[in-house]
C-alpha cells in the first residue's frame, strides 16, 4: 500500500473512499502503480492549489466524484445490455445537467475534476496533452487559444501554465462550467490571461481564427457533433494545432452521441477539414469479461 503521509489530499481521498465508498479501495494504489510517484505528486500539488486546507470543500468534492463515478458505472452496466445511450436530446441533457447548479457543483464538476487523476484513460489523455500537444504549441510560438467546452478549466489551466505568454478564451453553454473554470484559473493565478464566454460557437461563430484550439470530450454531448467540428475547424488558423478528444462507449448521464470506435470520431474530424497529426486511444480499465463494455477516449492532435 502506498505511503501517503506526505500527500495529505490524496490520503484524504482514501479516507473518504474508505468511509463512504469502500469499494473504491485500490484506486490510489492502482494509479500510483500505473503512473508512478509523478502522478502522486501531481495530484497532491493540484489539489493543494485548488482546495488548500478547506477540507470540508475537498471532502464534498471527493463525495461528488464518488457519486459521479457510481452513476457512470451503473449506466455502463446498462449499456452492456443495450449498446445504446439513453435516448435524450441536448435540451434534456442541458436541463438535467449543465443548467442544474446543484448537480454541476455538487457532483458533475468535482467528478470530472477528480476523474482527471483517478481514471486511467483521463490521466493518459492528460499525459498525451502535456507530452505531445504542448510541445507543438511551444514550438509554434502562437499566443492565443480557444477552449470550447471548458468543463472544469483543467486543460485551459494546463495551456496557460505551460506557456507564459499565452492568452486564452473559453467557451461553454453552462454558466456553472464557466464559473468553475474561472475559479480554477484564479486558484492558479492565471485568470488575468483568460476570457470566459457563454456562447454557442455554431450559432455565433468565433473569429478571428486562433493558432490553437482545444475541445476536450465535448463531441459526445452533442446531437450533431459534425456541425460543431465544422465550426471548430473555422476557429483554427492555418498552420495551427488543435487537440480534440471524445468519449467512446461511455454512457454518462449527459452523453447523447455514441461513438463506438476511434474511426467514427476521426472520420468526422477529417470531414470538418482538419488533418490528423497524432492520436491516442485508451480505456478506463481492462474489461472483466470480453463482452463487457469499457469507457474509452480518443484524443487527436489536428492541424490545417
Amino acid at each position: 500500500m502506498t505511503d501517503l503521509s506526505a500527500y495529505p489530499h490524496v490520503a484524504r481521498v482514501t479516507d473518504v473512499f474508505s468511509t463512504a465508498f469502500p469499494y473504491f479501495k485500490g484506486t490510489i494504489d492502482r494509479q500510483r502503480e500505473t503512473f508512478g510517484t509523478n502522478w502522486l505528486e501531481h495530484f497532491e500539488r493540484e489539489m493543494t492549489v485548488m482546495f488548500g486546507a478547506d477540507w470540508s470543500r475537498f471532502d464534498n468534492a471527493v463525495t461528488g466524484y464518488g457519486r459521479f463515478a457510481l452513476d457512470s458505472m451503473k449506466l455502463q452496466k446498462l449499456f452492456d445490455k443495450t449498446r445504446q445511450y439513453v435516448n435524450k436530446t441536448y435540451a434534456e441533457a442541458a436541463s438535467e445537467v449543465y443548467q442544474n447548479r446543484t448537480y454541476m457543483f455538487d457532483l458533475y464538476l468535482p467528478g470530472i475534476l477528480l476523474s482527471h487523476f483517478l481514471w486511467r484513460h483521463h490521466y493518459m489523455q492528460h499525459l498525451f496533452y502535456v507530452k505531445e500537444f504542448l510541445p507543438r504549441v511551444r514550438a509554434h510560438g502562437g499566443d492565443l487559444f480557444y477552449d470550447v467546452g471548458v468543463g472544469t478549466g483543467f486543460y485551459s489551466k494546463e495551456m496557460l501554465r505551460a506557456t507564459p505568454g499565452m492568452r486564452g478564451q473559453g467557451f461553454d453553454l453552462s454558466p456553472f462550467s464557466l464559473e468553475f473554470t474561472g475559479n480554477t484559473l484564479t486558484s492558479f493565478g492565471l485568470r488575468d490571461r483568460y476570457t470566459l464566454n457563454k456562447r454557442d460557437i455554431i450559432k455565433d461563430p468565433v473569429s478571428p481564427p486562433a493558432p490553437f484550439v482545444v475541445s476536450i470530450e465535448v463531441l459526445e454531448h452533442l446531437e450533431d457533433p459534425q456541425s460543431f467540428l465544422n465550426a471548430l475547424s473555422r476557429m483554427l488558423a492555418p498552420g495551427g494545432f488543435g487537440l480534440i478528444s471524445a468519449a467512446l462507449t461511455a454512457p454518462n448521464a449527459d452523453h447523447i452521441y455514441l461513438y463506438n470506435e476511434p474511426g467514427d470520431v476521426i472520420e468526422q474530424i477529417e470531414k470538418a477539414g482538419f488533418k490528423v497529426v497524432d492520436f491516442v486511444h485508451d480505456a478506463a480499465y481492462e474489461p472483466r469479461r470480453p463482452t463487457d463494455s469499457v469507457p474509452r477516449n480518443l484524443a487527436v492532435i489536428v492541424t490545417h
Binding site: 465508498f21 479501495k25 457519486r67 446498462l78
Partner: protein, 88 residues
C-alpha cells in the same frame, strides 16, 4: 431513509445473500448489517455495480444516485430496500 425493522432485515438478508455469494463467488459469505467492501477482497467497484444491478432486478426496484451513495455497507442497502417496501 428509516431503519428496517428486525423482521424486514431478516427477510432482506435472506433474499440478498444468494446474490452476494454469487457475485463474490463465496458460498460461505455471511451477510449482515455491518458487512462492507473493506471486509471482502473481491468487493471492488465493478463487483459493487454488478451487485447493485442484480439486486435491482431481484427486488424490482431502482436505486437513485442518493441511494447508491448511501450504501457504504449492507446496513445502508437493507434500509434502502426496506424504505422501498421490500419484505414489508
Amino acid at each position: 431513509m428509516g431503519k428496517a425493522s428486525p423482521e424486514q432485515e431478516r427477510k432482506i438478508i435472506e433474499m440478498i445473500t444468494p446474490v452476494f455469494r454469487s457475485v463474490f463467488e463465496d458460498d460461505k459469505l455471511v451477510v449482515n448489517r455491518t458487512l462492507n467492501a473493506n471486509m471482502v477482497a473481491e468487493w471492488d467497484s465493478l463487483n459493487h455495480i454488478t451487485l447493485v444491478v442484480e439486486l435491482e432486478q431481484l427486488t424490482g426496484t431502482q436505486f437513485t444516485s442518493d441511494e447508491l451513495a448511501s450504501m457504504a455497507d449492507v446496513g445502508g442497502l437493507i434500509d434502502c430496500l426496506a424504505g422501498k417496501g421490500v419484505a414489508a
